[in-house]
C-alpha cells in the first residue's frame, strides 16, 4: 500500500497529458507544438508503463531466470562470449518477448503489422 491520497500517479500524469492536448497543442505552432506533441507521447508512455509495469517486471525476471541470468547485463555478456550458443533458439524467443513488452509501452503502434 502507498500512503498517498487520490489521484494515483498514473492519474496525475494523465491530467497533465490532457492539459497538453487540450490547451498547449492547440495554442502553439511550429517547434513548440512539436515539443508539446513529444511531451504528450512521453506522458502516454509513462501511463502505459504505470499500468503494466509490475506485471512486465515479473515476466521479464522469469525469462532471465529461465536463462540462468540475474539481469540483462549478464544475459548480454553470455550471448557475447558464446556461453548460450547451444540454446540460442530459446534465447531469441525470450529476448523477442521482452522486446515486444518494451514496445507495448514505448510505441504500441509499432507492433501493428
Amino acid at each position: 500500500m502507498i500512503p498517498h491520497d487520490m489521484p494515483s500517479s498514473r492519474e496525475l500524469v494523465e491530467s497533465v497529458r490532457e492539459w497538453l492536448e487540450r490547451d498547449v497543442l492547440t495554442g502553439t505552432t511550429g517547434r513548440l507544438q512539436f515539443h508539446a506533441r513529444v511531451a504528450i507521447n512521453v506522458l502516454a508512455m509513462v501511463e502505459r508503463e504505470l499500468a503494466v509495469g509490475a506485471e512486465q517486471a515479473a515476466a521479464h525476471q522469469a525469462r532471465l531466470d529461465a536463462l540462468g541470468c540475474a539481469d540483462e547485463a549478464e544475459l548480454a555478456a553470455k550471448i557475447r562470449t558464446g556461453e548460450l550458443d547451444g540454446d540460442l533458439d530459446r534465447v531469441r524467443e525470450l529476448v523477442w518477448a521482452s522486446v515486444r513488452d518494451k514496445l507495448s509501452v514505448a510505441n504500441p503502434k509499432y507492433l501493428e503489422p
Binding site: V42, E72, V91, S98, V105, A106, N107
Partner: protein
C-alpha cells in the same frame, strides 16, 4: 536523425556585430565579393550552417548567387578539409552535389575554424514531404534509380582521390561504443554475433558516403538534385551505402524498403547498370542489419546527451525509448536468417 531538420529556421537572434564580422570574413575568402542576406540555418553540436548571397565573386563571373557556409565548431576534431576534397571528387565524378566554392581548415583559416562554402541547391530535404506530397510524385518514381546511379558514381572514384579518409572495422568500433555507454542490450549482442558469423567474404574497398539516405539529399519535383552531408565519408565496403539506404528508420513509415521509395531490385539494377558492379543481395542485407544495429546504438547515444547533462531535453530523453524499435527491426530483418 529522427527530429525535423531545422531548415529554414533561424536559431536564436544572431549577434549583429558577430554576423557582420562573419560577412566580412566571407567576403575575404570570395575575392572581395559583397555578402548580403547572411542568416544562420541551423546550429548542430559540431557545425553551423549559414546561407547568404554573394554579389560579384570572381568564380561566378562576378554574378549574384546564393551560397551556403558550413563552419565547424571548436572542439570537433574532424578535418573538414577531407570532407571538402571528397565533395570536390564526387562533383568531378559527375555525382549530383553542391559545388565547393571555397574551403579552409584549422584555427588560422580566415573564418577562425574549418569551413566550406558551397553553391546553394534549391529543393526539399525533409523526408516526410518527399515521401507524401503530391509535388514529389514523379521524384518518388525516379529516385530509386537515381540513388543507385549516384552511388555507382561515388564508388567508382579512385580511393586516393580524397586523401585522409580512413577505414575502420565497424563491428569492433560499435561494440566499443556499446561498452562505453554501459547499457547492455541482449538483442544487439545477438545481432553482433550474427554479423560476425556472416561477414561478406570478398568486400571491395571504395569511398563510402556513410550517411546516404533521405534527409541528406536535396530533391526537387524532378528527382535527385544533390547529395549532402559528407562528414561521415570514409573508406569501406560500398555495400554499406546500399544497406544503410534500406534501413527501416530511413523509410520514414513507408512500406518500400529503398529510402521509402523503391524495391531492392530497382536499386540494385540501377547500381549495376551505372557501373557499380554486381550486387549480392545477401551482402547488402548484411549491411542493412549492421545499419539497423548502428541506428539503435545512435539512439542510445542521443539519449545519453540528455542523461549526462550535455543537452537536457525531453525529446532526446524519449529517443532512449525508441531503441526497442530497432531491436524489433533487427528481429524482423533476421527472421529466417539465423
Amino acid at each position: 536523425m529522427s527530429t525535423p531538420p531545422a531548415n529554414g529556421q533561424r536559431n536564436g537572434p544572431s549577434n549583429g556585430s558577430a554576423t557582420e564580422r562573419l560577412a566580412a570574413q566571407l567576403s575575404s575568402v570570395l575575392d572581395g565579393a559583397e555578402v548580403t542576406d547572411l542568416v544562420r540555418l541551423s546550429g548542430g553540436a559540431s557545425r553551423e550552417t549559414w546561407r547568404f548571397t554573394a554579389h560579384g565573386d570572381a568564380a561566378d563571373g562576378a554574378g549574384t548567387r546564393p551560397l551556403i557556409l558550413q563552419r565547424q565548431r571548436a572542439g570537433d576534431g574532424r578535418d573538414m578539409g577531407v570532407e571538402a576534397s571528397v565533395l570536390r571528387a564526387a562533383g568531378a565524378a559527375g555525382m549530383p552535389v553542391a559545388q565547393v566554392v571555397a574551403s579552409g581548415t584549422g584555427d588560422d583559416s580566415p573564418l577562425e575554424a574549418s569551413f566550406m562554402v558551397m553553391t546553394a541547391v534549391e529543393g526539399e530535404t525533409i523526408a516526410r514531404k518527399i515521401l507524401r506530397d503530391d509535388e514529389y510524385a514523379e521524384a518518388r518514381r525516379v529516385l530509386p534509380a537515381q540513388l543507385g546511379a549516384a552511388l555507382a558514381q561515388l564508388h567508382a572514384i579512385p580511393v586516393d582521390a580524397a586523401p585522409g579518409l580512413v577505414e575502420q572495422d565497424q563491428i569492433a568500433y560499435y561494440r566499443g561504443v556499446m561498452d562505453t555507454l554501459g547499457q547492455p542490450h541482449p538483442t544487439f549482442e545477438l545481432a553482433f554475433r550474427w554479423l560476425e558469423q556472416h561477414r561478406p567474404t570478398s568486400p571491395r574497398t571504395t569511398i563510402v558516403h556513410g550517411d546516404f539516405r533521405l534527409g541528406n539529399v536535396i530533391v526537387g519535383p524532378d528527382g535527385l538534385r544533390a547529395v549532402l552531408d559528407w562528414e561521415l565519408a570514409h573508406l569501406g565496403d560500398p555495400m554499406e551505402d546500399l544497406g544503410w539506404l534500406c534501413v527501416k528508420a530511413w523509410r520514414f513509415g513507408s512500406r518500400l524498403p529503398v529510402a521509402g521509395v523503391g524495391e531492392y531490385r530497382q536499386l540494385f539494377e540501377a547500381y549495376e547498370a551505372a557501373g557499380g558492379g554486381r550486387v549480392d543481395p545477401d551482402e547488402a542485407r548484411w549491411w542493412e542489419v549492421l545499419g539497423t544495429l548502428k541506428w539503435g546504438i545512435m539512439c542510445i547515444l542521443q539519449c545519453s546527451a540528455h542523461m549526462n547533462g550535455f543537452s537536457r531535453s525531453h525529446e532526446l530523453a524519449a529517443i532512449g525509448r525508441r531503441v526497442c524499435e530497432n531491436e524489433h527491426d533487427l528481429f524482423l530483418a533476421l527472421e529466417g536468417r539465423w
